[in-house]
């Protein structure tokens, strides 16, 4: 039983990070019907930028507490990632908005690889340790433990979601985004500039992904150029799982996927009599994706979209 509680905690932490990245996918898809394959790489760039920043900030401000440095790095890295994402959308995706389906897909894949390669060149391919800026003593919860880093992840995610929720529901920008997602033509007739809304979506997505990236790096202790690929793919699965285009769905999907992965890989060894261990945990996300797309393509919270003849 104690193992289960621990897996649940781990799953929620993992799921929070998936949720943040899934939001980026789902927002972009909701507005321009594009799966931004390169989104996982934004997580990576955000994490690597923050790593570099911390390595500059720490010696520059030796008296500041670790968490302050972390927050500073997060903010600055988000700025960098947001600018990058804005530029990517403007240069590579915008011209292809009306192109046949294959073109933006190929471009997005190409962009994903390009970002990974550039990261490899700038930061070199080796795995780098991420500085520990938070206290490491685990806090007991019942028979399980939670680390301060994990607590921070949960807390930060909650804050980010609250801010996003406010943004989407209570601001003009948020209204513009919702309108464009529902009916782009109508929205533009009402004076909403689609380019601006889309750029905003990419910027917000980048900030969320950077948060997730920094937290991922803090939690697992390393950064490297390929760290965004699998989380990106899984976060996309989470977005589809929850219902692509649906913000709440992205969060629910992310949390659920995190739980499934954590609990599943924990018990997989037992279930298969030792044949399959946790090294197969990566497959869970793909299996979930295939099942969802086969059985309920609109996801948990998505609307049933009827086939237009």
């Amino acid at each position: 039983m104690d193992v289960l509680l621990q897996q649940v905690i781990n799953g929620l932490v993992l799921g929070s990070m998936y949720a943040l990245v899934a939001l980026g996918y789902t927002m972009v898809y909701g507005i321009i019907n594009l799966i931004n394959f390169a989104h996982g790489e934004v997580l990576m760039i955000g994490a690597l930028c923050s790593w570099s920043l911390i390595n500059i900030l720490q010696p520059a401000f030796p008296n500041l507490p670790g968490w302050v440095i972390l927050i500073m790095a997060m903010v600055l890295a988000s700025l960098a990632a947001a600018s990058l994402n804005f530029a990517i959308e403007k240069i590579a995706y915008r011209p292809l908005r009306n192109a046949p389906k294959l073109a933006p897909l190929i471009t997005a894949i190409g962009m994903s690889i390009f970002l990974q390669t550039i990261a490899m060149i700038i930061w070199k391919p080796n795995y780098k340790p991420f500085p520990t800026l938070l206290p490491t003593t685990p806090i007991p919860i019942g028979e399980a433990v939670i680390t301060p880093t994990q607590l921070m992840i949960l807390g930060l995610t909650a804050v980010a979601l609250a801010v996003l929720s406010w943004l989407v529901n209570a601001t003009r920008l948020g209204r513009a985004m919702r309108a464009t997602a529902e009916n782009p033509r109508m929205a533009s007739l009402m004076g909403v500039k689609p380019d601006m809304v889309i750029s905003a979506t990419f910027i917000i997505g980048a900030v969320l992904a950077t948060l997730a990236g920094v937290m991922w790096a803090s939690n697992y202790g390393t950064v490297h150029h390929a760290m965004g690929f699998l989380p990106g793919l899984k976060a996309f699965t989470a977005a589809v799982f929850g219902g692509i285009g649906n913000l709440g769905g992205a969060v629910v999907g992310g949390l659920l996927l995190g739980l499934i992965e954590s609990i599943g890989s924990g018990y997989l060894g037992e279930l298969t009599g030792g044949v399959m261990g946790s090294q197969y945990s990566d497959i869970f996300a793909f299996l979930v994706l295939i099942l969802v797309l086969t059985l309920r393509p609109s996801g948990l919270m998505g609307e049933r979209v009827a086939d237009r003849a």
């Binding site: 294959l102 933006p104 190929i106 190409g110 690889i113 990566d282 793909f286 797309l293």
Partner: protein, 365 residues
């Protein structure tokens, strides 16, 4: 009906160039012939993927799975691995498992086709982008299994890979040994070159015939508009499975040849990057157009290899950050983005028929 081979102009000239190529390259070193050999294997892969993506319009980003299936199949059936790992197999085959080329090729094709159908089946109702992601998932699942099926039963030998793998033998002569023909001596890489060239030529003929057939047209109709295709009576489910299966056979054959050529296979040769590269070859070359696909394959396979020789100085300049592999990835990714932005139909797309623009003689009011 358009005859794409007429674009090659003088067929005999082309044949001559292809047949003499090894002799032109050899003086520069066997490594160059090796590059040609690998390029031919990639051409096979691109031709196979072209059936799935180019003809039927199904964006498969996990195509490397079939390459892996063919490679591991041959690896398992023509190396000491199975006899070493399983004593009961050793007793069944006291001389070891050594399958001949003529047995391997159909087996690789058949098993790959089976995988193609099995992996294609769940994707039948998915639209473009979802299909792509699911196929990525399948490619990754295969790779994870290859990496981990060394326990509890050692089937794939995990990350250590399988080797040494026999080379293929043609008419009793193993291609790993050089061939002496009087005054000419053909090294192993050249022998493989001719085998692969033969396979490529046969494949091109097969693809061309498929393209201009009832099935080929049906595939293209699905690519263009699946709803209209169904309305015209096409069983899109079966046709898509056929495309997956047929496309996969090329991957399987290429994989088997790769295993024989390298003498060794391991999971790292079958990554997502490979699948993406094969897609890039087809799309950048010219989707659905055989000469374009071949061009794309040769460019993306040979160019980065050739760049190895340029990469040396670059590597020094950037303090070891830019090596051949990284340069190749950079080029491919930039090419993917660039071509989509500036020349989306590829470097060598199917020529538009110019007739129309002249023959409108006041036909419509």
């Amino acid at each position: 009906m358009p005859n794409t081979s007429s674009l090659f102009g003088n067929r005999w000239l082309l044949a001559g160039v292809l047949l003499l190529l090894p002799f032109v390259l050899q003086p520069f070193g066997n490594a160059w012939v090796r590059i040609a050999d690998m390029s031919l294997l990639y051409v096979l892969l691109a031709l196979g993927l072209n059936i799935v993506v180019g003809y039927a319009g199904l964006l498969d980003l996990g195509y490397v799975a079939f390459f892996a299936v063919g490679a591991y199949l041959f690896g398992l059936l023509a190396s000491p691995h199975l006899t070493d790992a399983f004593p009961w197999i050793a007793t069944m085959f006291p001389n070891g498992l050594h399958l001949s080329l003529w047995m391997v090729l159909p087996m690789a094709a058949g098993v790959a086709a089976l995988f193609g159908i099995v992996l294609g089946a769940p994707t039948l109702k998915l639209r473009g982008d979802y299909l792509a992601i699911v196929t990525i998932g399948f490619g990754e699942i295969i790779r994870v299994f290859l990496n981990n099926l060394d326990q509890p039963v050692n089937i794939t030998n995990g990350p250590k890979g399988i080797g040494p793998i026999d080379s293929v033998s043609v008419f009793g002569h193993p291609l790993s040994k050089r061939l002496e023909l009087g005054f000419i001596e053909l090294p192993s890489v050249t022998l493989y070159y001719y085998l692969f060239l033969l396979l490529v030529v046969v494949s091109v003929v097969v693809c061309h015939r498929l393209e201009n057939s009832r099935i080929g047209r049906a595939w293209m109709a699905i690519r263009e508009d699946e709803i209209a295709a169904k309305a015209m009576g096409l069983n899109t489910r079966n046709l898509k499975l056929m495309a997956f299966g047929m496309g996969a056979t090329f991957g399987g054959i290429s994989g088997a040849m790769f295993a024989a050529f390298q003498g060794f296979v391991s999971p790292e040769s079958f990554s997502l990057m490979e699948s993406v590269m094969i897609v890039a070859m087809v799309v950048l070359g010219g989707l659905g157009h055989l000469p374009g696909v071949i061009l794309g394959a040769v460019l993306l396979a040979a160019l980065p290899e050739a760049l190895r020789y340029v990469a040396g100085p670059l590597q020094e300049m950037t303090g070891g950050r830019l090596d051949a592999a990284i340069l190749r990835q950079l080029l491919i990714s930039v090419a993917m983005v660039g071509v989509m932005l500036w020349r989306p139909s590829g470097l060598w797309p199917k020529p538009e028929h110019g007739k129309r623009l002249q023959s409108v003689e006041g036909h419509d009011a």
